[in-house]
Amino acid sequence: MTEKEPPVPPIIHIRRLTKTYWNGDVAIPAVRGVDLDIEEGDFVSLTGPSGSGKSTLMNLLAFLDAPDSGTYQFGGQDITAFDEDYRAELRNAVIGFVFQQFFLLARTTALDNVAMPLMYAGKKKRQAREQAYDVLQKVSLEHRIYHNPNELSGGQQQRVCIARALVNNPRIIFCDEPTGNLDSKTAKEIMDIFDKLNDEGKTIVMVTHEPSIAKHAKTQLCMKDGKMTEKC
C-alpha cells in the first residue's frame, strides 16, 4: 500500500521503425526510422502530405504489417517478432479499425457486419449479435440494424464501421481518413462521435490530411518523407 505504483508504460512505444516497399528493383522507403510514444487515453492525429507514409506507419502500429527493422512495444510488451497468426489475434483482441472506404460486407445486415469480428474471437452468434446491438445503439443506429450497407447513407455506413471498431472493446482505435468520403456536415457528426469516445477514455489514432479534422486531436503529429517532423 505504501509502495510506489510502477509507471504506466505508454500504450505504443516504437523506436527506429522502418518499412520499405519494393517496386521491382526500386526501393520505396515509406517509413524511415520513426520514434513514437502514444499514451493511453490520448487522441492522436497524424497529418502530412500524400505519400508521406502515414498509412504505412498506421498499418505497422496496428499490426497489419511487420516492420523491416526497429522495435515495437505495445502496452509494455515487445511484439516486434510476432508472427502473422499472432498479429491477427492481437488485432482481433485490442484493435479497432475505421477506414475511409468503410469496407462493409455487401448483402449483410449492419448487425452482422458489426458482429463479424467477434466471430473470429470464437463468440457464439447470439452473444456476438447482442454485443453488436449494444455498440450500434452507441452510434445511434439501433433503428437500422437489419439494413444492408446499400440501404444506408454514407454517414450511417461510417457509423456502422465505428460500431464494428468498438464491438471488441479495443484498447486503441485506428482511423485512416475516416471522413475522407463524407461531406463536411456528416464529417462533423462522425468527429463528434470520436470526440465522445475519447472523452470516455478510448485511445484514438487518426490519419488525416485535413487540418480541420486534425484539430480535434489532443496530440497532433506530422509526417514528411517517412519521418516525423516538428512542424506540419
Binding site: L64, D65, E84, E89, R91, N92, F103, T108, Y120
Partner: protein, 412 residues
C-alpha cells in the same frame, strides 16, 4: 462460425444464381449419372433375380453337341438317351430330383396363311415342371405322347395372344410346322423376359416327335441339352464337379477336352453381374469426367470469387481472421456449391431412373419391373460431392488465405 460460413455461402450462391447454376451443371450431371446407374443396376438385378427364381435356382443346364455346341475347339460329344438314363440313375448324383433332356431346332410355322419363325423344343413333360411353367389353358403333353411320338404342341402365351387372341381359343387348333400338322394342346405362361425383349416364338413338343421329324438320321437317339433339377440345399460346386465327371465318364469324352457347357441358373446372375459391373464402370468413367469438368468449373468460379472479394478478405484479416479461417470459409463455399449441385444431381438421377422404369413398364408391361431405391447411392453421391468441393476448392481457398491484409484492402 461454421453456420455463419454456410449461410454466407448460400447468400453468395443466390446472389449469382445464373453463374452458380452453370457452374454446378457438371456436378449435377456427374452425380446424376452415378445415381442413375446405381439405381438402374439394382432394378435390373432385382428383375433378373425374380426371373431366375421364377424358373427355380436349383437347376443346371448342360449344353452338349449340336446347335448349342461346346465352347472351344474340342470335338462335339454326343449325348444319347442311354446316357441320360445312366445319368439319372447315377450313384454319384443322388441329389437329382428331376431331369429332362431334349432336342431343339428352328423352323417355320404356318397358320391361316401367315408364316411364323419359331424354335421348337422337343422334350419330356418334366421340362415344364423343372422350369416352373404355369398352364394357362389346355394341358401339357404326356409321357405316353412322348413314347408315341404324338404331333401335339404346347405354345407360349404371347404367341397364343398374337395368333388366337384368347388362350382357350388356341387349344385344339391345328398349326403346320415345317409342313407337318400339329395340334395345340396347351398354353403356358412364358417367363416375362422371353415374351418382351427376346422376340422369339418357342413351342414345345414331345422329344420323339421333334427328333423323328427334324433330326438327321445319326442323331435319332441324341439330345443336345439337359436340364437337371437338384435338391434344395445341395452344395452346387461339388454337385457340378460330380456332374461333369459323370457326363464325361458316361459319354466317354476324352479327358480334358471340356466338351460340355454347364450353366447353373445362379451363374446367369454372376454373368449378368459381370456385365453390369462393366456398364457401371463405363458410366462411372463418364461420371468421373463430368465431375472433373464440373470440378474445374467450381475451381474457376471460386478463383473469380476470391478475386472479386479480395477487399472482403482483407477486411476479415484486418479484424482478426487467421489464414486458416479464410481457408475454411472458402472451402465451405466450394463444398456448398458442389453439395447443392450434388443434391440436384440426386434428384435428377432418381427422376431419370424412375422415368426409365416407367418407360420400360410402358413398353414391356409383362416385365413388371419395379423401382428400387438404393440408400447407398445418395450417401455415396453426397460423399463424392463433398470430396469434389474439397479437391477443387482447395487451391482457390489456399490462395485466398495467403492474401496480405493491406494489399487486399488496397486492391482495385
Amino acid at each position: 462460425m461454421l453456420i455463419t460460413h454456410i449461410t454466407t455461402s448460400f447468400r453468395q450462391l443466390l446472389a449469382n444464381k445464373g453463374k452458380s447454376a452453370l457452374t454446378m451443371l457438371g456436378v449435377v450431371i456427374g452425380i446424376g449419372s452415378v445415381i442413375f446407374i446405381m439405381t438402374l443396376g439394382e432394378v435390373a438385378k432385382n428383375f433378373l433375380l425374380s426371373q431366375v427364381t421364377q424358373f427355380g435356382t436349383n437347376v443346371i443346364e448342360v449344353a452338349g453337341s449340336g446347335e448349342f455346341g461346346p465352347l472351344g475347339d474340342s470335338d462335339p460329344v454326343a449325348i444319347t438317351d442311354d446316357d441320360i438314363k445312366e445319368l439319372k440313375d447315377s450313384n454319384l448324383l443322388p441329389e437329382i430330383t428331376a431331369l429332362s433332356a431334349g432336342y431343339t431346332t428352328a423352323k417355320t410355322a404356318e397358320y391361316n396363311g401367315e408364316n411364323y419363325s419359331l424354335s421348337i423344343f422337343g422334350d419330356w413333360p418334366d421340362y415344364f415342371a423343372i422350369n416352373n411353367y404355369q398352364l394357362l389353358a389346355g394341358r401339357f403333353f404326356t409321357e405316353s405322347e412322348v413314347h408315341n411320338g404324338a404331333k401335339v404342341v404346347v405354345i407360349g402365351n404371347t404367341f397364343a395372344e398374337d395368333v388366337f387372341e384368347t388362350y382357350d381359343n388356341a387349344v385344339g387348333k391345328q398349326i403346320s410346322i415345317d409342313g407337318t400338322t400339329f395340334k395345340i394342346v396347351g398354353v403356358v405362361e412364358e417367363p416375362a423376359a422371353m415374351s418382351g425383349f427376346i422376340q422369339q416364338i418357342i413351342v414345345y413338343a414331345p422329344l420323339t416327335t421333334v427328333r423323328r421329324l427334324y433330326a438327321p438320321a445319326e442323331q435319332q437317339d441324341e439330345v443336345i441339352y439337359i436340364l437337371i433339377e437338384f435338391a434344395q440345399g445341395t452344395d452346387s460346386v461339388s454337385f457340378e464337379r460330380r456332374l461333369k465327371y459323370e457326363l464325361e465318364r458316361i459319354t466317354g469324352a476324352e479327358e480334358g477336352t471340356e466338351p460340355f457347357l454347364i450353366l447353373s441358373r445362379t451363374q446367369f446372375i454372376e454373368i449378368f453381374d459381370t456385365i453390369l459391373l462393366a456398364i457401371q464402370l463405363f458410366v462411372s468413367a463418364i461420371a468421373g469426367i463430368s465431375l472433373f469438368v464440373g470440378g474445374i468449373g467450381i475451381m474457376n468460379i471460386m478463383l473469380v470469387t476470391v478475386n472479386e472479394r479480395t477487399k472482403e478478405i482483407g477486411l476479415r484479416k484486418a479484424v482478426g481472421a487467421k489464414n486458416q479461417s479464410i481457408l475454411i470459409q472458402f472451402l465451405i463455399e466450394s463444398i456448398v456449391l458442389t453439395t447443392v449441385g450434388g443434391i440436384f444431381g440426386i434428384i435428377f438421377g432418381l427422376g431419370l431412373s424412375a422415368f426409365a422404369v416407367f418407360a420400360v413398364n410402358l413398353a414391356l408391361p409383362a416385365w413388371d419391373v419395379s423401382f428400387v431405391f438404393v440408400p447407398l447411392a445418395p450417401i455415396l453421391a453426397c460423399g463424392v460431392s463433398i470430396t469434389t468441393g474439397i479437391i477443387f476448392g482447395l487451391y482457390p481457398a489456399l490462395k485466398a488465405s495467403k492474401l496480405h491484409p493491406i494489399e487486399s484492402l488496397r486492391y482495385e
